[in-house]
């Protein structure tokens, strides 16, 4: 116990650098996933068939591929094809692209889940589709989006641990380099696990409170 805490203290500065990287990656990948996911959802709901097909194809293919393979494709395969991405950029593209497919489906489901009468009421009042979407459909879809979206966010944080395989210095990377120096994989991975657990705890508490606030405001 004593040595473990000593080792934790010794490597803590490295881990904290890793925490910074993990948070930055999560934030950037989440942003990509939200924006691109929203575009995918709109494309899938569009009356223009080509858009629908393209988006559907993307979603179906991407979410069938393991994230690790996507990360390797973004880092190694694209480089082979002449497009060299840095580790963090490849990580953001890979994770963002994968989670965009998941978020796109969440958005689409939530938009479709809004009562048809709402769309009709907006249309009967003369609102153009874009206005109906912004002012009537999306605010209501938001409540359906929140729980599954926060769920996926905690998955995204955990999946960022895969980026150590493409030489990005996140928490997992720091754990791996520490344990190869002191040969204490149990202690060092435990610290990484504790940090991920703390993330999860903070995030879920924060989001639960936010959800509650939103719901309370509505009634």
């Amino acid at each position: 116990m004593h040595t473990m805490l000593q080792q934790w203290a010794l490597y803590l500065p490295d881990y904290l650098k890793g925490v910074g990287m993990t948070l930055e990656l999560t934030g950037a990948a989440l942003l990509v996933a939200l924006v691109f996911g929203f575009i995918l959802a709109l494309a899938r709901l569009s009356k223009i068939r080509v858009l629908d097909w393209a988006a559907t194809g993307y979603v179906e293919i991407i979410r069938a591929i393991p994230v690790l393979i996507l990360l390797f494709i973004c880092y190694y395969s694209l480089a082979q094809a002449g497009l060299k991405l840095s580790g963090p950029v490849a990580a953001i593209v890979g994770l963002g692209g994968f989670y965009a497919a998941l978020y796109g489906e969440i958005f689409r489901g939530a938009i479709l889940g809004v009562d048809r009468g709402q769309r009709e009421a907006a249309e009967a009042l003369g609102m153009p589709r874009s206005v109906a979407m912004r002012k009537v459909i999306l605010p209501q879809a938001f409540f359906a989006i929140l729980p599954p979206a926060t769920n996926q966010l905690s998955n995204l944080i955990k999946d960022t641990s895969l980026v150590f395989t493409i030489a990005v210095a996140d928490i997992m990377f720091q754990a791996n380099s520490a344990l190869s120096q002191n040969f204490l994989p149990l202690d060092m991975l435990l610290l990484a696990g504790v940090i991920y657990f703390l993330f999860y705890l903070i995030l879920s508490k924060f989001l639960a409170r936010w959800e509650l606030n939103v719901q309370r405001r509505r009634s």
Binding site: D115, G117, Q118, E120, A121, E123, A124, L125, G126, M127, P128, V131, K135, V136, P139, Q140, R218, S219
Partner: protein, 271 residues
């Protein structure tokens, strides 16, 4: 009622896929006329009034309203025409369909501000005037789900009126309400009628139809069974189908007797 026709349907036919909803429906509505559409459920009444403001396309025939001429079939109606129709024709739904994420007054202000670009202060003032008219000014900052059905429907009427429509469509506005709440909604509709609003109203309230409507249309079996001046049609219907329908709704106790008699007859063989 004046002589200018504001809605003119000619031989309109509507199908959902292969299912016929109504066929050959022709109807003229004059300015300030109140037309009540009655008939058994499934007759196509709701679908018909939804076709009038083009929430649904129709398959055959023509529809002229507000200076537009629409023909049935696949041809696309330009977006600007659709929007003009939606802006000038108000609709009130059976299920109210208020926006649950907005307060009462925001529900009423939204369309004027977004569609007509009305300034917020003016939209608010107009919304308050409408709420006064239906007796709900004190509910302005409440969310719809805290209102009774009758209050929700009165707010829905205000929401439609806020766009200053030239024609109002009502699809069974009171059929989701508890009986004691029906009166407050019918009162608001009656007031509109007196102010000269052109209206098409699908309803099951025969007494109300007789009192408020100029013209009654009985729809049954996918077509217009009978139409004419309200009292005439409701008191002495000429067609057999109309008589059949009216005798069923006007004398429910007799319908119940018929039902019991039919059941007794059908069970008779077993004994």
């Amino acid at each position: 009622m004046s002589n200018d026709v504001v809605v003119s349907a000619r031989n309109m036919t509507k199908r959902f896929g292969n299912t016929l909803v109504f066929k050959d429906v022709s109807l003229d509505v004059h300015k300030s006329e109140v037309v009540a559409i009655v008939g058994p459920s499934g007759a196509g009444k709701s679908t018909f009034i939804r076709c009038i403001n083009r929430l649904h396309p129709f398959d055959e025939g023509t529809l002229e309203l507000l200076g537009h001429r629409l023909t049935g079939g696949k041809a696309k109606v330009p977006r600007a025409v659709l929007q003009d129709i939606h802006t000038r024709v108000g609709m009130v739904f059976q299920t109210f369909n208020l926006f649950p994420h907005l307060t009462v007054i925001e529900n009423i202000m939204l369309a004027p501000m977004e569609v007509k670009k009305m300034p917020r202060a003016e939209a608010r003032e107009r919304a308050m005037a409408l709420l006064e008219m239906v007796g709900l000014p004190h509910k302005r900052d409440i969310y719809p789900k805290r209102l009774s059905g009758g209050e929700q429907q009165r707010v829905a009427i205000c929401r439609a009126l806020a766009m200053e429509p030239e024609i109002m469509l009502f699809d069974e506005p009171t059929s989701m309400l508890d009986p004691e709440l029906v009166g407050e909604v019918l009162g608001a509709i009656q007031r509109l009628a007196r102010e000269g609003m052109t209206m098409l109203l699908v309803t099951h309230e025969m007494a109300f139809a007789k009192e408020v409507a100029d013209t009654v249309v009985i729809m049954a079996d996918h077509e217009i069974a009978e139409m004419g001046p309200a009292c005439e049609v409701l008191e002495s219907p000429k067609t057999e189908r109309a008589q059949q329908f009216l005798s069923r709704v006007l004398k429910p106790e007799q319908a119940a007797d018929d039902f019991v008699a039919a059941r007794t007859a059908s069970q008779g063989g077993d004994r």
